[in-house]
């Protein structure tokens, strides 16, 4: 992974210093909350319902064991003993005190971490495929470009006060997009042109929230060396022309839709012609310098299959489920990627305790070259585990309550913090997720239903990504009472689709029953156990599911409340 040099270190230390000064001035009353708010947001510090919330940046989700231990230490010392993994591969703390945040930033800086630009109207964490570097279907590792973009965007002086937040994602696997690039303000796909040259397909204007949209291609092939100058032009056109009159119409997707992709492209390329300088080109040596940090670890030369594993399967059913559901094929023979599911009934999805974090750091050291990755589904990945060591690893994870075999299954739920925590929320999302997880916590049922994603958001800001859940739930407020919209058919990957609302909003005591009815109908109508939930929905349409939930008479118009 990337190692800071003296420049990187100095930038982060100076930033922590700067924020310490800003906090002092706030506490002394020298600046108002109104003036302080954009400053603290640019350091990832929100204020939620009950406390501040600090969102720590984890660039493209990658952590060293040393960093994981520090995150545990911070949870223990400055918070209530846990952290929360987010849908953009970051971690957040829900209870820091403002007076302590400068010290927390110092602690983070000591392990090359920070909370820069994880909030505010600026460029946010650059996210990537959580199997970057190891996936069999990968054309090229996206992480060097994520790191280059991270440095480019950090404290970029021209784009610190955009109309709204800006999110970039990069994928290096053409076959399956695990970074959801089509739902980002800028999405980058590493591609190869007819001449065998590698570059980027650039997508723009995707996003969720009030106006979910799938991004459009602004440029089919961008040579690598032109990456930064082109991205700058996109940002500049957005900075100059994005709407600033209405917070809910301020993302770049609104501008792209209003202008149309042709006109938007024309403006970007016009700016690009005028602004691209030779200095702004990315030289090969810089790409090589950064890529060297992501060189493969010292893999052993191992046979492709561990036959002993097959014998273990027969003996241990739980291990068998876990091997089937949580293990992902690795491009190096004899190695596997492991999904650590932190999802468990009674635990808010994405929450990890300090003791678990410390244990995960040890496990990463012993099993995975000291690295672990946060996924945008609020789980963790150990990227490089010897296949022969999987049974032993499974036993250790189970002892930590981290061995559930539900990766990608029904109880691998994404929820935003919702009204239990968040100032923006209209309804609670975590209790709905917990109830679903509890009701369906039977491995045979999970395996029978197969791959399905449930994503729950507590408000239209869609931090739970409900638009792209196979089953999406959106909490709404009806005169101070929590209600829930149920939608089906969303998907974040290459087969991108936005879910549609099934019918009228449901009360809190109806929504989980409704999910059960939807699942029951799926099991009844699927062509075979191999037909996934999302495929069945696309095949038969919404009517059978509407009928299951609302009855033949009571569906009202989809598009609901």
């Amino acid at each position: 992974m990337y190692q800071y040099d003296e420049y990187d270190r100095r930038i982060i230390l100076e930033r922590a210093q700067q924020f310490r000064g800003q906090v002092s001035r706030r506490l002394a009353g020298e600046i108002t909350e109104d003036e302080f708010k954009p400053l603290r947001l640019q350091n990832g510090l929100y204020r939620q319902l009950h406390a501040y919330m600090l969102r720590v940046a984890i660039p493209y989700g990658l952590l060293s064991s040393r960093q994981v231990r520090k995150l545990a230490y911070i949870a223990r010392t400055y918070d209530k003993g846990y952290g929360h993994l987010t849908t953009r591969q970051n971690i957040q703390y829900n209870w820091p005190r403002l007076v302590d945040v400068p010290s927390i930033l110092d602690e983070l800086a000591s392990v090359e971490m920070h909370a820069v630009q994880t909030s505010g109207n600026c460029v946010r964490n650059i996210t990537a495929d959580h199997f970057a570097g190891i996936a069999r279907d990968e054309l090229e590792d996206p992480r060097p470009y994520c790191e280059i973009l991270r440095q480019w965007s950090t404290f970029h002086p021209e784009f610190a006060f955009l109309p709204r937040k800006f999110k970039i994602a990069v994928t290096g696997a053409p076959g399956e997009d695990r970074a959801a690039v089509r739902f980002h303000d800028i999405g980058l796909r590493i591609v190869e042109n007819a001449a065998g040259e590698r570059g980027f397909e650039v997508l723009v204007g995707g996003g969720l929230g009030r106006t979910p949209l799938i991004g459009e291609v602004i440029r089919e092939f961008l040579p690598k060396r032109l990456l930064l100058s082109y991205i700058e032009s996109i940002l500049r056109v957005y900075n100059l022309h994005g709407r600033r009159d209405n917070k809910f119409k301020a993302r770049i997707k609104i501008l792209v839709t209003a202008l149309g992709i042709e006109e938007f492209r024309r403006r970007v390329e016009e700016d690009w012609e005028a602004s691209r300088t030779p200095e702004l080109e990315l030289p090969d040596h810089e790409i090589a310098r950064v890529a060297a940090f992501f060189a493969p670890p010292p893999y052993e030369d191992l046979p492709p299959d561990d036959r002993a594993l097959g014998l273990t399967l027969g003996r241990d059913r739980e291990l068998g489920h876990w091997l089937r559901n949580n293990i992902v094929a690795h491009k190096v023979p004899g190695y596997s990627a492991v999904v650590i599911s932190v999802k468990k009934p009674a635990i808010p999805p994405g929450d990890v305790s300090d003791t678990q974090l410390d244990a995960i750091a040890d496990i990463a050291d012993r099993y995975s070259f000291g690295q672990v990755v946060v996924t945008h589904t609020q789980n963790l990945v150990l990227p490089d585990v010897k296949t022969s060591e999987l049974p032993r690893l499974h036993a250790e994870l189970c002892a930590l309550d981290l061995g559930d075999a539900n990766a990608g299954k029904l109880t691998d739920i994404i929820t935003c913090p919702g009204l239990d925590y968040c100032d923006l929320a209209n309804a609670r999302s975590i209790p709905i997720g917990l109830e679903i997880a509890e009701r369906f916590d039977r491995i045979d049922y999970l395996n029978d239903v197969g791959d399905v994603s449930i994503k729950i958001s507590g408000c239209i800001n869609a931090c739970g990504h409900h638009h792209v859940g196979n089953i999406g739930i959106l909490g709404i407020d009806k005169r101070g009472v929590e209600f829930y919209q149920l939608m089906l058919g969303g998907s974040p990957g290459n087969d991108a689709s936005i879910g549609k609302i099934l019918g009228r909003a449901l009360a809190q005591d109806e929504i989980v029953d409704a999910v059960e009815k939807v699942l029951g109908r799926y099991l009844a109508i699927r062509e075979s156990p191999d037909e996934r939930f999302i495929d069945a929905v696309r095949r038969v349409g919404f009517a059978p599911f509407q009928e299951a939930v609302y009855g033949s008479a009571g569906s009202s118009d989809a598009g609901g409340d």
Partner: protein, 100 residues
Amino acid sequence: MAIPTHWIVTANFTEDGAVAWRRADGSWSRRLADAGLLEEAAAKATAAEAAQTEQREISDPYVIEVHADGTTIDPLTARERIRADGPTIRLRRPDPGASR
């Protein structure tokens, strides 16, 4: 007959972000039950003034409508009830019981 409502002023403490309710004497409490009851116009004026003058102690004051029967104060919305009572879910993962 509709239950009469009152208005109270709430904010968050600047130092730690915890919820704050304004007492009748102008000081700020961490307990909803201590909130001073006001008429709507007076509450709004108080909040506006506090926003200007009390930045050091609290941030972003605003007003909410509540039911009050002399013993308890009950906000009208789920959001404000949760603000008063805390998250409705268990906070910290329990440590797993088995040895490592």
